[in-house]
Structures are given as C-alpha cells and as structure tokens.
C-alpha cells in the first residue's frame, strides 16, 4: 500500500494512449493531506505534470479521472468522483464532479484515479480491473450514444463514456456515468480528442476505515441529520433541484429570453411542483445517497433521468418555452448525445438573440421549437449552425458579435441565476476558477435569496468574505468525494424554524451584513484557530478523520479548500485565463428599473475579494499566501 492513510487505495494509474504504456502514477501522502483528492488534487497533478500553454485537445493534454477518500466509503452522498483537464471551452482549469458508479468501482479495483495522456490511433476504451488497466478496441462503440455505449460494455462494471458530442469535439461535451454527467467544461471533448470512448472498472477491494467504529457512528448521525433536515430530508427528495424554479423566478433571477429578464410569467409550468405533480415517476439517488434529489420521468415510454433546475431554466424560461414535457425530452436527448445542458441551453439562447437582432442567419426563435431536436443533433455532429453553437457562446460572439449578451464568464456559460438580483453570485461567477459555474462561484444566492437566513441581495457588504468561505467549503467537500448538497445542512435545521418576521431573523440578517471582517479573520487564522470538529453542522472533517486516520479538523478541512481554490487559480494564471469579468449585460443593463446593474457593486466587491483571498490587485495569489498554504513546496512525484 503506497499510503499510510485509509480511505484511499494508495495507487493511481497512468495510461499513455499514444504508446499503449500503462504504469503507476505516484502521489505523495503529503499531497493527500494538503489537497485531499478529487478536483484539488487533480489540479496539483496538472500543475506539476502538464506543460503550460498546451492545446487542451492535443495528445499531450492530460485527462484525469480521480476520487476522494470518501468516494465509495458508504458515508452519505459519496459516489462522487471527478474529471479534470485544461478546458477546451475556456482555456482555464476544467473540473467536473459526477455521481455515477465509475468512481466507486475504480476504487474497488484498488485505484484512486487514472491519468490519461496521448492519443490512440483508433477508438479505444480503458478496461480497469484489480490487475490494472488494459486499452481495448472501441471501434464498434464509436458513434453510439451514451446509453448504447454503456449497454455494449461489460455488465455490472462502473462506466464513464462519451457520446457523439465528445467524439466530435463539441467544446462543452460531457462524460456520462449511468445517467449522471460530469457535465461542465467540455471534458468529453478532451476524451474524444484522445479517441477515448469509454472507461469501465470492476473490482471487489474493500475501502477500509482507520477507526471503523468511530466512522460508522459518525456516518449514522450524519445520515440522520440529512434525513431530518428540511432541505435535504424533504425539499430535495420531493422536488429535486427543480424546486428552485419558483423561488428564483420570484427573486427576479430566473434567466428569461437570454437573460434579458429575471421573471417568466409561465415559471409555474416548468417548476419543481409541476414536475412532481405531472411527470415524476419516482426520485432517485447516486449510490449511498439518503437525499435522492434525482428525478425519474417518462420519455417515449421509458423511465429516464429528469431535468435539473439549470436545464429547466435554460431550456424553459431562457428560450420562452413553457412545455415541461419538451424539456424532459431534450434533456434525455442531450444526455444521450453527451452535451452539457447548461452551456448548450445558454448558447442556444444567445444564438436566438443573435438571430432576432439580425446578426445571425438562422431559423431559431424564442417561443417556437420545431427546430430544437434537429439542432441538438446538429450541435453534437457539428453540422450547419450547430457547428458554430458547438463552439460555445464566447467563440460565437467572436465570430458574430454580441459579446455583451453572450452570457459566459471566463468562457463558461453562466448557470441559471441572474446575478443582478444576487450580487454575491455576480462576484462568484466572475472569480470562479472554472468560469460561470454556480457551485464554483460559491452559490451566494443561497445566502442572499433562498436560504433560511439571508443577506441583502443588492448590497455588496460582506459579500467578498462570504463568497470566499462558501467557495472554500465547496472545494473541500468536492475534494473529499462528497456531494456539495450535504452542505445545505450546515444551516442547522433549527435555523429553519426561526420566525422570518421575528426580531432574531432581523438581527441575524444584520449581523451577516456586517460579518465580513470576522469572516476575513476566520480565513486568516485557519487552521490553528479551528482545531476542532463541528459535526452538528459540518460533519465532513470528522468523518474524513475517522476514515483516513488523518488529524483532520474543521480548520484544516477549510484550509484544504482554500488551498484547492488557490492552486486552481494558479493554474489559470499560468494559462493566461485569470481575467475576472462578467458580460456587459450584467454589468451595464438594468434588470429591475429600481436597481442598478452590477458595475458599481463589482467595483467594490472585486478588490475586497482579492484582499480576503490574499491575492494582489490583479488577482494573482501573493507569494506569502502560497507559502502559507504550502503550494509549490510539495512534490507530486
């Protein structure tokens, strides 16, 4: 065993598809302690082993599929594994988290991850067992959709595959495992560029815990906590992420007609409530998940995965479509083709507006969708106008104009929240390492709009510090192999009982609004300032400690998140992809006539954010900060 820590399998594979060579890839225990796993550790590996400035679709580009210590451990919501590479869509760090069964099976084979380089001279798949990895011919799989590909591989293996979109290098092609997607950043295209159609893994090795009894006990209380919490125990299981359609619409933040409005008069028709009432067959969960936020709906007589909130918004309100049955259908089609629904929907919205303004010749229209199914096929196969849309909104704007209403940040299409109604979300989108991603942004809309205690969504006060806190905790949770939806329980269920119109609620809102300085100091004193665990709110650090045997505390856990966020930033700095901007529509156009667009708030929040982060005025981490986090002083080999 190449590690002293339990929870990890201690080995990683390296596969060079050009030479066919399969070898071991070494990771040090120091890096495991510093970066935990998944996206943070993958970025560390990319920084140490991949040359700066490479073409992400070239053979020398690395594609990393890896796990965290919690992946497959039976702690709640821990099927999560990660796919990382330089993103062909953004040129920045690309990382995407997935809840399918591939990661768990990979670990059961005895591997924490696989680093893939090179390019096969014909289509291949990688078959992983306890004996290692074999590169096998996938000519018979090339051209198949993601479902048929999985069906054609060996039964009862964990699989990760691309569809036609990945094969055709669509810049936002995803990878699919079961029906779960590693959706964002175009990592399916990176696999496609290597002629890599799929990976499959099957093993029977056990994931051991350092303190089995302590681990079991901590896991049991964690599951109880999630099941009894209003968000993770009721709202998400019953309504899925689709529950957000109505609240986000009422918050004037539901993208409508390519983000030109924040409210859609037919929001109820595409809402989680309507989905539950008219289309839901049952809910479903990733392995070991007590929350089960996934939807099962029927499309063409078959039970399939239903749409997430983002898909409902971007294929609903954002293109003026109130027909939820159509969204179910398109969602299924995109999963089969291997397309990221967020980037795809957002770019289609942009193409419609370009057409409406006479800047693009096409048949695309808001509110009429006879063309949609054909267009999705054309995007995945890069035909006609589909070939342009396959490049994403930033590239399309460079060709056709309309940059101010091409709704992306760092080249990644922005998710389904208009930040003009949640300014912290705007800051998050701008600085997010992977670009316009709501999660990597810090998901401030929860603090500003939807959560049990809220901050003023139009005020910039304290937003920088809270964004940093949220980003760090999400990073650490993802690094550990856990689903970030477990973090909703951080707002203890007691907070959900506070009378929103009472004095206490008002005091909490006021305190949150002036808490920036305190939060700032919290970040500064990590980890020795928090040498404890707080399982009633953040059980993650305690459970990781019990599983791995690491001396994990809440402070160390949050600092690992901070370290992950900083090394991702360093990757972007190195690749020349660290400009923190938002589209002109957000900065300069009013969404609500009574409220300003984001320009003024951004001018206040951005320098504050850099300061809290310990970055210089251009957004580059200072040497002192990197040294404090131990970035650059550990070796991956």
């Amino acid at each position: 065993m190449a590690t002293k820590f339990k929870g990890y399998m201690g080995n990683m594979l390296k596969v060079n598809l050009s030479t066919g060579e399969v070898s071991e890839f070494d990771v040090t225990d120091r890096d495991r302690e510093l970066y935990i796993g998944n996206k943070s550790l993958a970025t560390k590996i990319l920084m140490d082993n991949q040359k700066a400035g490479i073409d992400p679709l070239s053979p020398e580009a690395m594609l990393i599929v890896n796990t965290g210590p919690l992946t497959g451990s039976n702690a709640p919501c821990t099927s999560r594994f990660n796919v990382s590479a330089k993103s062909p869509l953004t040129g920045a760090i690309g990382a995407s988290n997935c809840g399918g069964d591939f990661g768990v099976q990979l670990k059961r084979c005895g591997y924490d991850g696989i680093v893939i380089t090179g390019k096969a001279d014909k289509p291949v798949y990688i078959d992983i067992t306890e004996k290692g990895a074999e590169i096998k011919d996938a000519s018979h799989l090339w051209g198949l959709d993601t479902e048929k590909t999985q069906e054609a591989l060996s039964p009862k293996t964990g699989k990760l595959v691309i569809g036609p979109a990945g094969e055709n290098l669509v810049k936002y092609a995803c990878l699919i495992s079961q029906e779960r997607a590693a959706g964002r950043c175009g990592l399916g295209a990176v696999a496609g560029s290597k002629n890599l159609k799929a990976l499959q893994a099957k093993g029977a090795k056990k994931i051991e815990a350092a303190d089995p009894e302590g681990f079991k006990k901590a896991v049991k209380s964690w599951i109880d906590m999630l099941k009894s919490h209003p968000t993770t125990g009721e709202t998400l299981p019953k309504y899925g992420t689709a529950n957000l359609v109505n609240p986000i619409n009422l918050s004037n933040a539901l993208p409508t007609a390519n983000f030109s409005r924040g409210r859609y008069e037919d929001a109820e028709m595409i809402s989680g409530e309507t989905l539950a009432e008219k289309y839901l067959v049952k809910n479903m969960g990733c392995l070991s998940c007590p929350i089960r936020c996934g939807r099962v709906v029927e499309v063409d007589g078959k039970q399939v995965k239903g749409p997430e909130f983002e898909t409902l918004g971007l294929f609903g309100s954002n293109i003026l479509n109130n027909d939820l049955a159509l969204i179910n259908k398109w969602n299924r089609q995109m999963d089969l083709l291997g397309l990221d629904t967020i980037s795809c929907g957002n770019t289609i919205g942009f193409a419609i507006e370009l057409t409406q303004k006479g800047m693009l010749k096409s048949d695309l229209k808001f509110g009429e969708f006879g063309w949609m199914e054909q267009l999705l096929e054309d995007i995945a196969h890069r035909r006609g106008i589909g070939n342009d849309i396959a490049e994403g909104s930033r590239a399309m704007a460079r060709k056709y104009g309309g940059e101010e209403f091409a709704i992306n940040a760092r080249g990644l299409e922005v998710a389904c929240y208009d930040p003009r109604s949640s300014v912290g979300m705007g800051l998050g989108y701008a600085v997010s390492n992977r670009g316009g991603c709501h999660i990597n942004a810090g998901y401030m809309i929860f603090m500003e709009r939807t959560g049990p205690v809220t901050m003023d969504p139009y005020s910039s006060a304290s937003k920088a510090a809270w964004t940093v806190f949220q980003q760090n905790i999400f990073e650490a949770v993802s690094a550990s192999g856990n689903c970030i939806f477990t973090t909703y329980a951080i707002m203890h269920k007691v907070l959900h009982r506070i009378n929103k119109r009472g004095l206490l609620s008002k005091i909490i809102s006021k305190v949150l609004g002036v808490s920036g300085l305190a939060m700032d100091h919290t970040a500064m004193i990590l980890p020795w300032g928090m040498p404890i665990n707080m399982p009633v709110m953040i059980p993650h650090s305690l459970v990781i400690g019990k599983l791995t045997g690491m001396k994990m505390t809440l402070g160390k856990f949050l600092q690992a998140g901070e370290r992950g966020y900083n090394i991702e930033r360093m990757f972007n700095v190195r690749e020349g992809a660290a400009q923190d901007t938002l589209p002109g529509r957000f900065m300069n156009e009013k969404l609500d006539p009574k409220r300003p667009p984001l320009k003024a708030a951004m001018a206040k929040m951005l320098p504050g954010y850099y300061k809290v982060r310990g970055w210089d005025a251009t957004g580059v981490p200072k040497k002192k900060k990197l040294a404090k986090l131990g970035i650059g002083i550990s070796a991956s080999k």
Binding site: P230, T231, E234, T235, L236, K238, Y239, G240, T241, A242, N243, L244, N246, P247, L250, S251, N252, R263, G272, E273, C293, F309, H438, I439, Y443, F446, R449, T450, G451, P452, T454, I484, F485, Y488, M491, H496, R497, I498, N499, K500, R501, G502, S509
Partner: protein
C-alpha cells in the same frame, strides 16, 4: 369597508401541507394574512410558515414594510419555504 381580497400562493413543502396551491382571503396587511393562515391550517403548516420567504406580487416583503406591508385588491402573496439546490 371590506378588507382587500388577495390571492395567497404556496410552494413546495408548504403547498403539500396546505393541500392546495392557492387560496383567496381578505386582509389589510401581510400580518393579517399570516393570522388568517395560522388559524385556518394545522400545526405542521404553521411551523413551516414561520420560516418562509414572502413576496408581495414581485417584491420580497423585506424590501417593503415586512409583515406591516399593506395589501390592496388583486394582490398576490407568494409564500415559500427556504430551500437550496443548484
């Protein structure tokens, strides 16, 4: 003079507890609606109601006058439990 007639819409868990997506009621202010709801729905509903976000038409009442916000005929109140997702 009669108090204004308003529509009250419920969402997610609150809709499930109310057993309906909307009701009509007469009240002069948001506080009046809350009082009406508390006396007409059960305990579970009321527990959830306390923590809910309330919008009057298109504006969160925290940006108006909170529970003291006055209502007029034809207004719609939207009441939503806190939530998450993503």
């Amino acid at each position: 003079m009669d108090k204004p007639e308003v529509t009250v819409r419920f969402y997610t868990a609150l809709r499930a507890r109310a057993g309906t997506d909307e009701i009509a009621c007469r009240a002069a202010s948001v506080r009046g609606v809350l009082r009406y709801l508390k006396s007409n729905f059960g305990n579970d509903f009321n527990k959830t109601l306390n923590s809910c976000h309330i919008f009057l038409n298109e504006e969160n009442i925290v940006f108006l006058r909170g529970a003291s916000t006055k209502l007029k005929d034809g207004d719609t109140l939207h009441i939503l439990p806190p939530t998450g997702g993503g």
